[in-house]
Amino acid sequence: MNKNILLYAAILIFGLVAPFVFPAFKVQLSILCVLIVLATTWNIQGGEMGYNTFGNILFYGLGMYLCASVQVGMFFPLAEWTESGGEKTFVHTPAQFFQGMAVGLVVAAVVPTIVAGLIGYAILGLRGHYFAICTLGLGVAAGEISGGIEIIGAGQGFTTPPFPEVGGLEARGEFFYFLSFGALILTFVAVRAIYSTRFRLILNAIRDNEDKAEAMGIETMKYKIIGWMVSAFFCGLAGGIMGGLVGYIDSTDVAFDGREMGVFMVLMAILGGKGTLWGPVIGATVFHIFKEGFWTFFLGWQYVALGVLIVVIVIYFPEGIMGWLREKYPEKFGEVIDEKDRKAQVELK
């Protein structure tokens, strides 16, 4: 326990100090925070519940559009804003910007949660690959449809309000960094709290055998929907922050980007290890470092590298880093293995 507190304190201190120690990496660190949030929330579905979704991108994109729309719509006519395509006809004062951002983030988190609750009953009744394909369709459909709606910029995109002139570029970076770091801490604490309750056991029971769980008297549908709503809440929040950070929202390339973010969150969780608390965090960190570190070498070939990476990870490391560690050092995970049993295993191999 003591060791854990030290670890958390170290991470917290690193997080608080990082933007001042590594000022050049502020944006990267904020993106990393958002990625960890996404991977952690995907893990609630894919890892704990056994429902491999491609559709969490729906909530992410929804949150992104909602946050920006609220932020603009609270003070200026939304249609004219998108019409002007980001020209400075309307300028947010600092107070307006932060007010709009605060309200926008709340809306961006709450509305996707409600949406998840509404569609959950219909969608979560599907199982296995039907669920995967259905959610894939949902994400792409959302992207295509939002790309045709005029008021949020249609195909030409939506420019989010620029950061007000209170401290220049440095202040902008720090603001978004602490926003995303706050979201990360909120997510991690919430998910950790959830995982320490009976709820996690119920989700695991659903993953292992849903029929049996139902026969044991668990209202599986209720818990599946709650799980999805939790994911949607944090995905929407992450989307809202990311929208402000990127500064420009496009329907298929930024918001409902199933080809990038939608796959990234699955990949990060699998890379780190599905069904563990720390797996997605480690996976997202490793993935982000790899992506930013090596992307420049593959300039132009990123997607090729990404495709190869997906295939390699899925085929050769389906258990992820945490799964590998668990197999290597089972004692550290509180698993006691009989020495005889292990010998028998080795002989079998």
Binding site: A122, G125, L126, I133, L306, G307
Partner: protein, 297 residues
Amino acid sequence: MDFMVFQYPMITVQACLDGLLLGILFALIAYGMALQWGVMNIINIAQGDLVILGGYIAYFMYLYGIHPAWGVIVSPIIMYFIGVGIYKLVINKVVDRDLFISILATFGISILFMQLMNFAFGADVVLANSGYGTTMLFDNNVTLPNSKIFSAVISIVFAIGLVIYMKKSKLGRAIRATAQNSRAAKILGVDTEKVYAATFGINAALCGVAGALISITFTIHPYMGLPYTIRSFMIVIVAGLGNLPGVAMSGMGLGVFEEFADYILGTEFRIGAVFLLLVLILVYRRFKLSRKREYLK
């Protein structure tokens, strides 16, 4: 929303004919999907990208002065070997695993192909001009490009040919036996590994034919693959595995639906409507089955 399509009967006829001819092509792709799903129990997200790749083969023949219709012969041959290659490299490692693994692995292949095609052929929308002209029907009110009729006929020929091949040939029998029970087939001396490779190759070849036809009748673009995958998936789940007349019917139904969605909602919502229809169909089936306390499996 624009309901003009219902006010003028000729536009309705036009939409129906276009949709039927388009739907036959979809059915051909869906046939390949059903084949590999039934035999190997994998869902290939890269299906659409194989189609587009087949289309580029025909387009390249067109660029070098060969009539693109020959692509119908050349493209499946090349695609067969590409399919077998993909099987040997990736698919054979995911056949016996969880279905989600196969979805994710083929998703990776799909992204890879998309980008490689983007490098190789550029990001422009292209089409191979067959120069077949158009047929006018009903006092010139309905225009029907001959290339669409050509593609429908060729698709039907290939589909029927494949059905006969599956029924009569030795490999066809081996494929059907493996689909029924791969372990029993193995015991009885079927080399299932070879059967799987051949199945994936045949599927890729079918995609090649469909792609060549699409490059003649419609347009191709490196990023256009995923909608074809979703369409074929949808057709297969509506028709059911191993129900060939059903695949043809639901393929044509989907084609007609798309044409009407195009007229009513506008072209920008066409793909969105397809994906939304998939979600609606799955949800409908889920509610229908849940009344019997069952679920889609």
